[in-house]
Symmetry: C2
Subunit: 435 residues, 2 copies
Amino acid sequence: MEKRTKEKGAGEIMESLKTKVLEQLALAKQASRKTGLLRTEEKNEALALIAEQLLADEANILAANEQDLARAEADGQPASYLDRLRLTPARIRDLVDSLEQLIRLEDPVGQLIDSWTRPNGLVMEQIRVPLGVIGMVYEARPNVTVDAAAIALKTGNSIVLRGSHSAVQSNLALTASIRSALSKSAVPADAVQYLPYKEHASVDLLCSANGLVDVIIPRGGAGLIQRVLQQSSVPVLETGVGNCHIFVDQSAHYDMAEAIVLNAKTSRPAVCNAAETLLLHREWPLDRQHALLARLLAAGVELRACEQTRALHSDLAEQLKTATEQDWDTEFSALVMAVRTVDSLNDALEHIQRHSTGHSEAIVSEDRASAERFLAAVDATTVYHNASTRFTDGGEFGFGAEIGISTQKLHARGPMGLPALTSYKYVVRGTGQIR
Amino acid sequence: MEKRTKEKGAGEIMESLKTKVLEQLALAKQASRKTGLLRTEEKNEALALIAEQLLADEANILAANEQDLARAEADGQPASYLDRLRLTPARIRDLVDSLEQLIRLEDPVGQLIDSWTRPNGLVMEQIRVPLGVIGMVYEARPNVTVDAAAIALKTGNSIVLRGSHSAVQSNLALTASIRSALSKSAVPADAVQYLPYKEHASVDLLCSANGLVDVIIPRGGAGLIQRVLQQSSVPVLETGVGNCHIFVDQSAHYDMAEAIVLNAKTSRPAVCNAAETLLLHREWPLDRQHALLARLLAAGVELRACEQTRALHSDLAEQLKTATEQDWDTEFSALVMAVRTVDSLNDALEHIQRHSTGHSEAIVSEDRASAERFLAAVDATTVYHNASTRFTDGGEFGFGAEIGISTQKLHARGPMGLPALTSYKYVVRGTGQIR
């Protein structure tokens, strides 16, 4: 066996990989035809069986995870990496909870979006249908395997998963458990496929399988997302970076501004809806500005300020680092914040226009006209008046489940709930109409 | 000047092209920020000014078109090509009529799609906004230049146009006329950009300008669409081929089936919603089958039939060519039709599943249960019961304007009206909420 592999040329290995991947994609496509027609109760029953099976297979899953952890540790991966990779009984319980929550969510498939009758008597209906086959390329966290598969199945889709190779044993154990549950349900087990191949070519094959795969969702770092975006001929749902701003207007309520900025920066600095830049209206009272900056510093936030801010608060100058041009474009994902003094709402809008990644942007202001101008002019998935940017999240929006936060404008924008995994079709009923 | 160009290396020319294209894209992006905030009346006024200006510039436009025609003729292009390229006073009048119709259509921008209040008091609104900058890559017909620009402006977008080089003089004259009209309106002239560069690299630059361009729409042959799909990292709205089927069920109404098949095949065979394959239920009365085939033949349709059909209608055998496997997958776009006898609805569904391009599919049947099964099971933008596939069209759907017919499932599917050129954003109003 070992010998045969060694004897194979690179071309032969590539051909064999291609055959295997395309076979799995064809099975997923085939299964999607059945899954897309199932009733909500049938899909919910399958989700309940998955929850049961994960608990039954817990020992197996944790043992597989141990193998991945041991390899990652031997490779010298940092503790934060190991933590993301680790499965525990509590984390499996969280997955089961998510499945139970998903069962209670409304099924978007089959929903009548619109209907009308044409003058010639044709009766038109626009009906929500599954996308078909979803390709998911993701990194590290094995819980994504279960969450993504469950959301795909709830919306009548098949899913082809390709996680990072460091989590391959965990992911294989999880998908085996899911498929074993499905084999007792109305959902075909083939609706969930895992690509266990280390070769990056397996991602390329997935991303170029137009006709077999309907959408690719990359979840992970900017490198992964950019690579998928560049390579994929299958449409991609992009979940991007968040360089979010908070503009404290001259009329901002003191305590509210302080609470919102603190919350948006410090409550969870590593996530994409955390704020990165604070824009201070020059005419917001200087003592309040001072108090706010002092509170941020006291909370352990490193502040990188423009020259005007440093001059206005010279007593803090030692604690205020000088911001570079690059800082305005950086998603720090840490307790670091850029600070800029602006002369007007217009200046704030111009700064945001130049540096925003279009994720989440907020204004704190007691002036209704300024707020409305900000909300209309800023081009982002979510714009806030007097609230923290941290609310850009499927759960906080009330969607119940979240596939990710789209920063593109096509198909879905902002937090994506179940409808983001659906399309529609037109059903037209006639009585012999011709054109 | 000539000399300098000759001295330039390929790299230098490429750099200069890149600079010029990126400059135009940046202008379009800048203009989109203003266009997206205009009131409906301001956009409609701009459209009316364009209509006026096109009529005023008619002599110029036709003279430019003459140059393109002369070059195409010298290149030995066929008459059909010259016809697509040709502008006439009547065709300019048609463009003006389309503009007037567009003015009367509802503006989707600003529409409140959904709104709700969260338990924490946040007031959520989902509001329709323009996409931003649309990149349009298209072939031959210069009328697309005006139609596409007008639809983009009505929906608050900027547009960057790149037509085929054979129509460059016509397209430049048309865009000059449009921009001259815009300069008298609230819409910035820079909202309409034309890329006059012959180099295919200008298309590549457009398709890789993530951040400046929000969507690429290719309009033209399969080759153009595939090239754009393969190359673009900007999301693409795919308008694809239509290999459409009509299934005549055993219970089909005789005259209705005949009328629908004749209409779907012969009324305009070159378009994507024309039928390509006829599936005949074996138990539909043989004399009716015979009559239908004879009528198709009498209408000049070349029939390529399966062996069973040829055996069942042996008296027609000389006129029925033998279908090859490839015929089931061919969009003939001509008076040619493949014919297959199937034993059941299941067989018809299986054939369609294997060979459909997911455009438009129809069943003719008096049996409601069969029809409903067909409508649910067939995965296509539009499925018909007792009507011709020819109705898959923005005008026939009542959309007023059509950007194209999407055969992908993301963002928009089937005939695309004005809302297909929009996205949405969430506007969240709070009273100091933090998380």
